[in-house]
C-alpha cells in the first residue's frame, strides 16, 4: 500500500512538472487588465482572479516590450531621443516599465520581426517599415493595432504630413513614420577643391570628377555591396530617373516590367559605373559601415546614401574627421533618360508599429508613448540632432532653428525637387526585392548582363503578382 502511494506520488510529481513546463505565457498578465491589487497582502495570495478588486492607489507593476533598431555608434542621437521618451512615458504611466530590446535594423526587419509576426508573439511596440512587404502584410494578418482612433483621440492626425501611404490599409492607419529621408549624393568638398573639380551638380561634372579622381587613385564613390540593399539605393534613383511613368507602383500591377528597355538602360548605366571602376574595389565584400568609414576617412570623394547619414558628419558624429567638408545634393539630371530629372527618392517608410494584442494597461502605455514621441519637440530634435526629416508639420519658426548646414542642404534639395517616388522595396513583394539584390550582385560581379538581370527579376515579379 505504502509502495503504491509512493508510485502515485512520484507520478503526480512527474506529471505536474510536465504540465508546469507547458504553461502559457498568459500567466504573467492575469492581473494586468484591471491593474488592481487586492485589499490586503494576506488576501492577495488566496484571492481568486475573478473576484472584483476594490479600487486602490497601489499599482501592479507591468512591463511593455519595445523593439528598436538604434544600436551602435551611428544611431546614438536617435537612441538618446528614444531613451528620453521612454523615461518620460514611464514617469507618466504608473507601474509601467519598458523592456528595451535593441536589434540591428536588417535583422529585425527581415528575420526577427517576420518570425515573431508568424508566431503571433511580436513585441508590444516595435520598429516597423511600411509597404506591402512589411506593415500592410502584417496588418492584413491582424497583427497590428489600428491607430486611427488613437490619432483621433490625441488629435494628432492633422499634425502629420501626408506620410501614411505605406501604412494605410482600407482607410485605417497601422504605423506612424518617425520621419522621412531622401537619397542623394554626399561629396567631400575638400577633395573636390584640391583636385580643381566643380561640385557634381551636373552629369558632366559628376562623370568628369569620377574620371579625374579615378586617375589619381581616389575612389570616386564609396560603395558597399555585401548587403544588396546598399547599392540598391542608387539603383532605385537610377530607375526613377529612367522610367517615364508608373515607377514603382506599376511593377506590382503589371504595367511596368523589370525587363523594359527603360529599366534595362538604368541597370546598364550602373554596370557602366562598375566597369569604369567608379566604386570601391572589392565592394561585394564591404559592409554598410565600411562604406561610411571609407568616405569618412577621406579615401572616397562621393557616396550615394540616405539623408539620415548626415548626422555622422557632425562634430561629435562617427565620421567627425570630415566635419564641415561634406555637402549633399540630389543625383544630377541624367542625359537621355526618359523620366522626370528633378525627381528624387523620398520615403516616409520607417517608424513604429504596435501589437494588436494589448491589454488596457499596455494600451495606456502605447498612447502615452505616441504622445511623447510624436510631437513638435521630438520631431525638431530628430531633425536637428539626427538629420531625420520631420514626418509632422513643423512651424517655420521651428524649422528656422535648424543650423546644421548639411541638414539645411537636405531640406533645400527636397524643396527644389520637382517630384518624388518611394523606394521600390516598399512596394514590391519581398521575394522580388530579394531577387533585385541577388541580381544586382551578379551584375556587379559581371555574372549577368543588364538584360538578364531584368528578365530574372521580372520572372519572380510575375510569379508574385500571380499569387493574388
Amino acid at each position: 500500500m505504502k509502495r503504491n502511494a509512493m508510485v502515485i506520488l512520484t507520478l503526480i510529481l512527474a506529471l505536474s512538472t510536465l504540465l508546469a513546463a507547458c504553461g502559457s505565457k498568459k500567466n504573467n498578465d492575469t492581473s494586468s487588465p484591471s491593474a488592481s491589487t487586492s485589499p490586503s497582502a494576506s488576501a492577495s495570495a488566496s484571492a481568486p482572479a475573478s473576484e472584483p478588486a476594490s479600487p486602490s492607489k497601489e499599482v501592479e507593476p507591468f512591463t511593455v516590450s519595445l523593439r528598436h533598431i538604434q544600436i551602435g555608434e551611428p544611431q546614438k542621437f536617435r537612441k538618446a531621443i528614444l531613451d528620453e521618451v521612454v523615461k518620460k512615458t514611464e514617469a507618466e504611466v504608473p507601474g509601467l516599465k519598458f523592456e528595451l530590446d535593441g536589434v540591428e535594423d536588417a535583422v529585425n526587419r527581415f528575420t526577427k520581426l517576420p518570425a515573431e509576426m508568424a508566431a503571433g508573439n511580436q513585441p508590444k511596440i516595435f520598429d516597423l517599415f511600411g509597404g506591402n512587404a512589411d506593415a500592410l502584410k502584417y496588418a492584413k494578418a491582424g497583427r497590428l493595432l489600428d491607430l486611427t482612433p488613437i490619432l483621433d483621440e490625441l488629435q494628432l492626425k492633422d499634425k502629420f504630413l501626408n506620410v501614411f501611404g505605406q501604412f494605410t490599409l482600407d482607410g485605417k492607419i497601422y504605423g506612424l513614420p518617425i520621419g522621412g529621408n531622401m537619397e542623394g549624393v554626399f561629396y567631400n568638398t575638400e577633395i573636390f577643391q584640391q583636385n580643381g573639380l566643380n561640385p557634381p551638380t551636373t552629369w558632366d561634372d559628376l562623370i568628369k570628377a569620377a574620371d579625374t579622381l579615378k586617375g589619381k587613385g581616389i575612389t570616386p564613390f564609396a560603395q558597399a555591396s555585401q548587403a544588396g540593399w546598399v547599392p540598391n539605393m542608387l539603383v532605385d534613383t537610377l530607375l526613377g530617373r529612367h522610367v517615364a511613368a508608373g515607377f514603382p507602383n506599376g511593377l506590382t500591377d503589371g504595367t511596368l516590367k523589370w525587363n523594359s528597355p527603360e529599366i534595362v538602360a538604368a541597370y546598364t548605366l550602373y554596370q557602366d559605373f562598375v566597369k569604369k571602376g567608379y566604386f570601391t574595389k572589392g565592394e561585394l565584400g564591404k559592409t554598410y559601415d565600411d562604406m561610411l568609414n571609407e568616405f569618412g576617412a577621406g579615401k572616397a570623394a562621393m557616396m550615394f546614401d540616405g539623408s539620415w547619414r548626415s548626422s555622422a558628419f557632425k562634430a561629435d558624429g562617427v565620421a567627425k574627421a570630415i566635419n564641415g567638408k561634406v555637402a549633399f545634393i540630389a543625383l544630377p539630371a541624367i542625359p537621355n533618360a526618359a523620366g522626370e530629372q528633378t525627381s528624387i527618392n523620398a520615403n516616409y517608410g520607417n517608424g513604429y508599429g504596435f501589437s494588436s494584442d494589448l491589454n488596457e494597461n499596455e494600451l495606456a502605455a502605447v498612447k502615452a508613448f505616441i504622445k511623447n514621441l510624436y510631437n513638435d519637440e521630438m520631431q525638431l530634435r530628430g531633425l536637428t540632432e539626427d538629420g531625420v526629416l520631420p514626418s509632422m508639420k513643423l512651424s517655420d519658426e521651428a524649422m528656422g532653428k535648424v543650423t546644421d548646414p548639411l541638414v539645411k542642404q537636405v531640406l533645400d534639395t527636397m524643396k527644389a525637387a520637382g517630384s518624388s517616388f518611394v523606394h521600390f522595396d516598399s512596394v514590391v513583394q519581398k521575394a522580388v526585392n530579394a531577387e533585385t539584390e541577388n541580381q544586382l550582385q551578379k551584375l556587379i560581379a559581371n555574372k549577368a548582363t543588364p538584360q538578364e538581370v531584368g528578365d530574372a527579376i521580372q520572372k519572380v515579379q510575375d510569379t508574385e503578382n500571380a499569387k493574388k
Binding site: 561585394l284 564591404k286 530579394a434 560581379a445
Partner: protein, 292 residues
C-alpha cells in the same frame, strides 16, 4: 523491491515523461515539418496544400542548383584534400618523440573556438587592405587579392577556413587510433627491414582504416550541413558564389517568412545527406573489424 519491478506501472512511470518530451519536441515537429513542406505556410496568410510546388521551385531555381554544387565542392575538398592531409599530419605527430602533447593541443585548438570567432578572425586575415596575406603579397610587389569579394576566390577562402577549423579535431581522432596500435607490430616490421614510409603506408594506415572511414563519413555529413561559417564570412555572397543549401534556406526562405518553402528545403538537405552517407557506407565505407 522484487514486486516493484514486476509492476508495469513502475516502468511506465519512467518512460512516459521521456516519451512525451521526445514526442513533443522531436517527433511532432519532425512530422509537422514534413506536412508543412507541401504547403505555402508563412504564418500570416491561410495555409494551403500546394503539392510538390515547393520542391519544383527549389530545383527550378538556378541559385539553389548552384548551392547544391557548392555543397559538392565542400565534400570533394574535405574528403579529397583534407582527409589525406589529416592522415599525414596524424602520422607525423604520432612519431615525434618530444612535445607530442603540445602538438596535439595546438592542432586541436581551432575546433574549440566558436565559428563566429573564426569567421571574424579569418575575415581579418583575408582583408585586402589590412590583412596579413595582402601585406605578404605586397612584400613581393603583388596586388592584394579580394578573397571574400571576388566570386572566384570566395569559395576557396571559405573552404580553407573551414578546413583550418576542423582538421585538428580529426587529427586527434586518428592519432588516438594510431597510438592504440600495439608497438610490437611496428617493431616487428622494423626488424624485418621496413622503413618508416613503408611502415606507415603498409601497416599503420590499413590498421586505422575503420577510424579513417568514420572521419570520411563525418566529413561528408559535415559538408552537407555546413552553414555557420558561410553566414558569418560571406552570407552566401558575393553574388551567390558561396551559397550552400543551408544558407540558401536561411536567406531565401526563413528570412522572408516563407516557412513552407523553408521546410521543403530542409527535407531536401536531409535527403541529400542521407543518400550520400548511405552510398558511402555501402561502398567504400565498409570496413572489417580489426583484431590485433
Amino acid at each position: 523491491m522484487k514486486n516493484t519491478l514486476k509492476n508495469p506501472a513502475v516502468y511506465l512511470m519512467f518512460i512516459i515523461p521521456t516519451i512525451t518530451l521526445y514526442g513533443l519536441f522531436f517527433l511532432y515537429p519532425m512530422f509537422s515539418s514534413v506536412f508543412y513542406a507541401f504547403t505555402n505556410w508563412n504564418g500570416l496568410d491561410e495555409t494551403r496544400f500546394i503539392g510538390l510546388d515547393n520542391f519544383t521551385t527549389a530545383f527550378g531555381d538556378e541559385s539553389f542548383r548552384s548551392a547544391i554544387f557548392n555543397n559538392m565542392y565542400f565534400i570533394v575538398f574535405s574528403v579529397g584534400l583534407q582527409v589525406p592531409i589529416i592522415i599525414i599530419l596524424a602520422l607525423l605527430i604520432s612519431n615525434v618523440k618530444k612535445l607530442k602533447g603540445f602538438y596535439k593541443t595546438t592542432v586541436f585548438m581551432p575546433s574549440i573556438l566558436s565559428t563566429s570567432v573564426i569567421g571574424i578572425l579569418w575575415g581579418f586575415i583575408y582583408d585586402p587592405d589590412i590583412g596579413p596575406i595582402s601585406a605578404f603579397l605586397g612584400f613581393f610587389g603583388l596586388d592584394p587579392i579580394y578573397w571574400l569579394a571576388e566570386p572566384k576566390w570566395a569559395m576557396i577562402a571559405i573552404l580553407l577556413t573551414n578546413a583550418w577549423q576542423w582538421v585538428g579535431f580529426y587529427i586527434v581522432l586518428i592519432l588516438a587510433a594510431i597510438l592504440a596500435i600495439p608497438k610490437e607490430i611496428d617493431e616487428a616490421a622494423e626488424i624485418d627491414g621496413a622503413n618508416a614510409t613503408q611502415r606507415a603506408w603498409y601497416l599503420t594506415v590499413p590498421l586505422i582504416k575503420p577510424i579513417i572511414s568514420v572521419v570520411v563519413m563525418l566529413s561528408i555529413a559535415g559538408a552537407m550541413r555546413v552553414v555557420d561559417i558561410v553566414l558569418v564570412m560571406t552570407n552566401g555572397g558575393p553574388a551567390g558564389s558561396t551559397e550552400v543549401m543551408a544558407s540558401y534556406m536561411v536567406n531565401k526562405a526563413i528570412k522572408f517568412g516563407d516557412y513552407g518553402y523553408g521546410t521543403a528545403l530542409a527535407i531536401i538537405i536531409f535527403a541529400f545527406a542521407l543518400v550520400f552517407t548511405a552510398i558511402y557506407q555501402l561502398t567504400f565505407g565498409k570496413t572489417e573489424r580489426i583484431e590485433y
